[in-house]
Symmetry: C2
């Protein structure tokens, strides 16, 4: 099945809003095995919209249109559908009732423009909105001699996503020409894209027409997207299993989970399972490790607190770093990272201390310790250790990469997967 997307909105054309709907729909449709061939964005002008709708419907079996479904005068999508499909608008009383109740439940007056939301072009089904008041619309039938599907969704991302997942996706799966592609995502951490590629080595005996592997890097790690194109079958699952097994065999210590696993969550579960508490001593990351750990709901079960010691005197006064260590080796050094990790463990009375001291940039680099250098420290009841890593030249990226590396260090200590090799900077 091929598809064209039509996203409506002046705010998209003038760059006030980035078109995340097109990316989200592109990803979801591709996963279903639907080929997105074109995305078009136009403004709220009815004539232009009708032209583009006609062009999409002529060329694609599926057209997904987003935006312009609200109640204001800019929202002309319903009228355009009525014109193009020669399908008069009628008020759907059930929907009008639902909209009325939606506002009642929230204790708000129904806006005078709300009844427009209950207007449906003849021949269209309505699609329930699990999130907001506007419903989606669905057409399935013959247009200009061909079988056509048209999904019409609100432009607000949460509403669009909700209706797509609950109502559009099931309808598409029921179509004969949708042969779902089977996907699996392995989430890795603590290793860069090229180092990971080297580790995985030659995979040509597994990869090919029917099985693909994509590297999706971000500051929190590289996600590996495995795709089997011969449908969602037992054979496809078997192919994915074999590829996953190979990846885990070669880079197992770096695979932290599947799907949308996140390092902070995986680490949180480990800490919770082990009944251990954690605190961070941060210099270069400035509080980001604490911020990321507390991004997980329920983190108070294991995360106790942090000391951000940006000034060296605070490294000494609160964390007990020795002045001679800083003088002799500099603040960005192995002994300071070790003493910070041990110091926060004692100062905040926790099981595990993790520390960062580095040069995020853009200034402060030297030949010996260029921008992007970081020492990471780890301390627990058994002992302490520090590792040096070298990252990039950008301050914002470095802070994220330092924090990710520190969190990953703790994860691997907890999993006891810290073979020497893993400690080598990427």
């Amino acid at each position: 099945m091929n598809a064209h997307l039509l996203t409506i909105g002046d705010e998209l054309l003038i760059g006030q809003t980035t078109n995340t709907n097109a990316a989200w729909l592109g990803e979801r449709l591709s996963r279903l095995g639907v080929q997105v061939e074109r995305t078009v964005t136009v403004g709220d002008d009815p004539d232009t919209m009708r032209d583009e709708l006609g062009r999409a419907v002529r060329q694609a079996r599926l057209t997904v249109l987003t935006g312009g479904l609200g109640p204001t005068h800019d929202d002309v999508t319903r009228q355009v559908l009525a014109d193009y499909f020669e399908a008069p608008l009628r008020t759907d009383d059930e929907i009008l009732d639902r909209i009325r109740r939606y506002y009642e439940r929230r204790g708000r007056q129904m806006p005078r423009s709300a009844p427009a939301l209950a207007q449906v072009p003849e021949g269209f089904e309505t699609l329930d909105n699990p999130v907001g008041a506007a419903v989606g619309l669905w057409f399935s039938g013959t247009l200009e001699g061909a079988d056509r599907l048209v999904a019409v969704l609100p432009g607000i991302p949460q509403e669009m996503n909700g209706i797509f997942e609950s109502a559009v996706e099931p309808r598409l799966r029921a179509e004969e020409d949708v042969h779902a592609v089977a996907h699996r995502t392995l989430v890795t951490s603590g290793i860069g894209e090229s180092a990971l590629q080297e580790r995985l080595g030659d995979l040509s005996d597994l990869l090919g027409e029917e099985l693909g592997l994509a590297y999706l890097p971000s500051t929190s790690g590289v996600r590996l997207r495995l795709t089997a194109t011969n449908g969602d079958t037992a054979a496809a699952q078997n192919q994915l299993d074999r590829l996953e097994a190979r990846i885990r065999e070669r880079a197992g210590a770096h695979v932290i989970g599947t799907g949308d696993a996140e390092l902070e969550e995986v680490l949180g579960r480990r800490l919770r399972a082990a009944g251990r508490t954690i605190a961070s001593a941060e210099s270069a990351t400035g509080g980001l490790i604490g911020h990321r750990l507390t991004g997980v709901s329920g983190s108070s079960a294991y995360y106790e607190g942090s000391v951000v010691a940006y000034a060296n005197r605070i490294k000494r006064s609160v964390l007990g770093v020795r002045a001679d260590a800083i003088e002799e080796h500099g603040a960005v050094s192995e002994p300071v990272a070790l003493q910070m990790a041990g110091g926060v463990r004692e100062a905040l009375d926790v099981d595990v201390g993790v520390a960062t001291t580095g040069i995020a940039g853009p200034t402060g680099g030297t030949e010996e310790k260029p921008v992007g250098t970081v020492w990471l420290g780890y301390a627990d009841g058994v002992g302490a250790r520090a590792v040096r890593r070298q990252f990039v030249e950008d301050r914002t990226l470095n802070k994220e990469l330092f924090a990710t590396a520190a969190l990953d260090l703790v994860r691997r200590r907890l999993e006891e997967r810290t073979d020497e090799d893993d400690w080598i900077p990427r």
Copy 2:
């Protein structure tokens, strides 16, 4: 002048990459007064690209095409241009030399595919790339009987932005039918969109056809975009001046700067100018205040450190919060916020202490203190004070909004702009 954008790339269609280029170009072109009427994304297929290029050129005076300019076999843009314009590709020796030097300077071998980057269709000018190796292309001439402009840019955002700013924008400004729109952005903080709208009140004596005002909200504040449409003239500047003066008169304490001013930077400059140092005591924000303050290069001049006291016992042991205050009023309370701010000021020996204690959610809310409740504390040599604010239901948003509110509290204390009214929750 009207414009169509044509963004090329399979990664955009399958949602692996969000189309930020379209938004960036849309914003830049709108600012120049160019009307972007349509954005089209298609994959790397030459036939489809040629069709879409033809359609854009027929309908728009300016076509901006991005992507497909690299050296690999997926990069077919040059060939498509050569076919559509019937303009054979020739190798530009000067560019080839420059590409060779580009790799030499970086100590890297020139890839065997690099000479493709020096191929230029006849009739096109080349546009220098201040960032990377690929040059841009520019056509200005008659096509199908009409005056047409075509800009062809790489898909990598930094390169696209660099070439647009240095080479495309000046060429567009020189065109007779580009009448630049005059813009001004006022950055506000510590006030929500609707509260700000109320404060500004009726502006209809100033606003109209020639002068517009847009609210652009984010978690770090609401930006106000002022637009004068009658060209970049003295009269337009005068209109903008009058509107800016009115806004400052009515919401002055909330206006923190113009252009791309950010709260952390504005606050940093204030602290530096006053010769004061700062530290944060964070509970609900988990380190985010420290993270945001240290996002600014040079922040070590005034930011000393933070104590993240997620566990109540750390509020007591490190920050000296009294146990009876927590027992009697709860951790999210005025006395605890005050004692945290004063405590971190003493513990880290700084001039200004700022504190957050709140309920980010999704759990932990009560009827009296629902999710989104935060107490912010401030302490300096003169005294301490705390304010309660109420935000939203989302954990991630709340952490950002709590941090923004805390930073803004400090800014206004330093600017001595804390009339009682400002302390009322939005």
